[in-house]
Subunit: 334 residues, 4 copies
């Protein structure tokens, strides 16, 4: 299949290019970037010298459309809407890594991102690209809204427990920590080395945009659920760890067994055995999500780790394509 | 005053030596270490070359006692008890940086540390060295139990709120993150560079020894309080950040004003203005504790940051000595 | 082919297992370790859960020999000699990642490593596993001495220039910097996080064992060559950067063109264009060696970067196997 | 004395403010910044909350001049010239931390920085602020050109050896590595966390502006000396390590003794004993320069470490003021 990446020079775009280059059934067709138009991709990303020598082109959608079966969108939110609509109208399989189609409710989206959504029909049509939970919707879909990195980490841990009423839905706290690449490649003072190294801090308390995304999907199955979500910035490049606090009257073993059963056919979700604690180092550079279960009295702690650029973004995007295309789910991802 | 440090070559011992060397009213008398007996202190800690040239001696308590007015104990728990009893019996001011006198209840101590406590009377007599809360007890005391690093970070944030019934005492979660120096200088695989760098993980879930210490002191003022405490390992050398989740019916401003009032005379506790988030970088290398308040509906989030080796250990130890000796509290600490 | 790894739980052993698991023509047969005998490999290296579930066995050479076509030795020097001799005598293809067969001269080896070499015949027979330079010897060999990480970085840069008399062989300085994994997995104080992070230092000045290895191979083509080699410890996990100072009367372009020509058929050596500076981030996690050329007056600076665990160890080991087995050189390595 | 800092919110300005706040004889008068005019200094640098509450003002030179005895200039090169001339004309003691007065030769300065120098007389008048070498000139001076960080590290190691003809002046190589703060606070992609962390690279090969500064001062005592200087970027915030390669016919002990004698009265230069290797961790956060000597045959390696923000900038600036003001050299610096 011919694959193009719109906005190919950011962190998620680059991860996509690396994965596609190794994928046996996907061919890189167009790599676009307004900043690097005309340059060789490997001149922008020297690690790929001798591996990806494609020349970067500008965002000429008609040209890209002619050349592509599948289009990955790595554009900022708001900018992504129109591109998604265009390539969707051309019958391409579209995977949007922005936030534009992650939240079904036009109102919540517009309130959260403070922009207008001009494609409410596509909002309804888009599948939420969390394969372990929405695999059937994904299979049928031609427009996939790739989830946020934090929501991927939290929902994989919490969704089954809420769905099965194993936890008190009024009382869920997700204390999440992410590497700096989660902030994207844009130049900011807060991502300068001297601002991040030897430091650690929470940010966006009660206001981070991934909170409404997490709650919107949990509310589909449990209207009253409200997760308190607090992101923190880790002095590492990649990886997310979520420590999630719940109340539950089930015992630890019941919960672990249920999660193992729920993810029985999910290669990329690994439920830890009793006493084993997930860590970012175990999932970094992989598409795995590791989940650990700890219980004392009615207090349940779920630890969930992913690589924010892979299972939290580009790896999951290719996993979604594998599902739609009926490739083995792990093709090109291990 | 003549000051000695028993076990002077670990991380907390070294921080003490650095502080004492700059303190206008304290003189280094004896620096002991069984491993480095006879060597120059600055040969073990080259940053202090030309500043501290004292020769390290073995743990000869009688000799140290003759030479000292004040003795800091930087020994492992259990080992520290006997030394504390000895120097206390000689009428020295003793500041114990181990865990041996932090928990008043012999039973809880023995259960938590799985060793016998042979000095129950001293347990009763010792003051818990958290100056902003127990300043009066410290002022009268000749044996000070210097608090654990995590408990310092959590208690400064939570104690006033529990005392004043500003929060639901049944519902307090402390998600805490610490730099690697908190694990001490002992050689372990889990503190090797390649095991810590680029990683992040929780540890000691439901089982870390600082949990009982935190709850023991809160239970003095509120019997039913139970804090759920989860420590995590940060890929940095020093600093602790605690994100603490509570339920409260007071509004954000009331809580902030109350904390400002509670710490009105506490130079080293800084309550952040609305919207300001504490971070480890702001307290690293200082004796300050920075506390931020965030509220939405009934959800209260308190963020508390300290340097684990200073306010969480050696800085606080000297602060305690300043109080007993009637020096300005900040002497030698800014 | 059935492949076994002797000493599979160190850093280089683990990298080998990861590569073999993805290699289309190699099957993991036996993974040995005296420390973890009987445990599942993925319990020791959780990142490989669901990917490598092989059970670790003890170092039973007869058993391993029956089950293997190819044996990788990841043992300490001195210990490796005997294992190499054993598996070689059984007709297996042996790749030794230790230092035991890297230096042809029994005298220099014994002086450098301060141990006796008991297999002088094998010393003569072994091929030095630097494929871009000794490919022909490797092709014919059944015992391959995988080069040291620093020598790989330095020889790829300097060997062609010395051979072609492009530089003054009396005047070569290699200032090399390595990530911490180069020190191996053994517990040491100098590799503790708090000893390495925020620090940088040279070590083994004039005495590091990779110096004689570098000079031994250069002396094969130029008896008087003496490289001054200084290793430094970087606060990162993996990667080596070498800044190499030479005197040359050739101009920058001649030198660059000659290196491009010399490495024309070497996929894994990338000669940078004018003005492009190699960096560790460009080769980290890959088997590439990036080499940059800078010239002013008669001063030549060559910058050479590799990943010490891949091109400097396990990646190169598999590259050597690919060559002997007539697989494409890059099989399993991109 | 009343002290003002022009451009007080960059890294060197902030270090100056921290030192002055602790200095017993210096009072902060004006802190200027065009970006933060009107804000409290501690709002820009929260670590100084409760310590420095001065309100930042704009660069109103007349006002600053009325209020100050001493003025530190932390401005970009070229911009600094005019400010230095102004405050000098007002009879203030001026310490310029920019490059504008570091190079005596107008021609070399203009060629190196590609700007015009409009104050050639001041160029002649300015003292080069390296106290251990130019203490007498500094003592008499009212305009001090604070040296660059790399030149401080290299000249302290090399100047005495060149002066005393202990080394071949035609053959000196300085391979230097610096933390990221050396690049200053300006937003750049190359100082973003994800670009620096886990990486290491040389930069400015044969072209860095500190090269001409190093050579200009060595040429004052030895016209033919030419140091080859290569800077590298370390993934740490602060600290410089220089590994310097020379040829010498003196033995190691002669060289060490000579350096000890040369720096006999220099508190902040520490010559290591035989076999002791300097490291950044030993000087980080201090004003010390540690120098180690290693010799084999005619090859001499000098290792020199400083903190780029202290001995390499702000610490040395205050050391210079202490000298002019006849305070103890270490006042406020230990």
């Amino acid at each position: 299949m011919n694959v193009s990446v719109i906005g190919s020079t950011g962190y998620t775009g680059n991860e996509l290019v690396k994965i596609i280059a190794k994928h046996p059934y996907l061919e890189i067709s167009c790599l676009t970037s307004d900043n690097y138009d005309g340059q060789k991709y490997s001149d922008i990303y020297p690690p790929l010298k001798n591996i990806v020598e494609t020349k970067i082109i500008s965002n000429d959608w008609d040209y890209v459309s002619d050349k592509s079966d599948i289009v990955f969108l790595c554009l900022p939110h708001a900018a992504s809407q129109k591109a998604a609509a265009f390539f969707h109208s051309k019958g391409k399989l579209v995977v949007d890594l922005s936030a534009d189609f992650r939240i079904k409710s036009k109102e919540i989206y517009e309130k959260t991102y403070n922009v207008t959504h001009n494609y409410p029909d596509l909002l309804t049509e888009a599948a939420y690209g969390l394969p372990e939970i929405y695999g059937n919707e994904i299979k049928q879909s031609r427009l996939i809204a790739n989830p946020g990195c934090y929501p991927t980490s939290v929902l994989l841990a919490v969704y089954p427990l809420v769905k099965n009423k194993f936890v008190d839905e009024k009382y869920i706290i997700a204390d999440c920590k992410s590497g700096v690449s989660g902030a994207g490649k844009k130049l900011t003072e807060k991502t300068q080395f001297c601002e991040v190294s030897d430091d650690f801090k929470p940010y966006g308390i009660f206001s981070h945009r991934h909170g409404p995304e997490i709650n919107a999907w949990l509310n589909e199955i449990s209207a009253d659920t409200r997760v308190i979500f607090t992101p923190h910035l880790l002095p590492i490049i990649r990886g997310i760890e979520s420590t999630i606090y719940c109340k539950s009257d089930k015992n630890e073993n019941e919960i672990r067994q249920y999660l193992k059963e729920f993810y029985r056919d999910s290669f990329f979700v690994r439920i830890m055995e009793k006493g084993v604690t997930p860590r970012i180092a175990n999932v970094s550079g992989t598409n795995f999500a590791d989940i650990g279960v700890f219980k004392e009295e009615d207090n349940l702690i779920i630890v969930s780790c992913i690589d924010n650029l892979l299972k939290g973004a580009s790896g999951q995007a290719v996993q979604n394509v594998n599902i739609v295309m009926d490739f083995d789910e792990e093709t090109g991802l291990i």
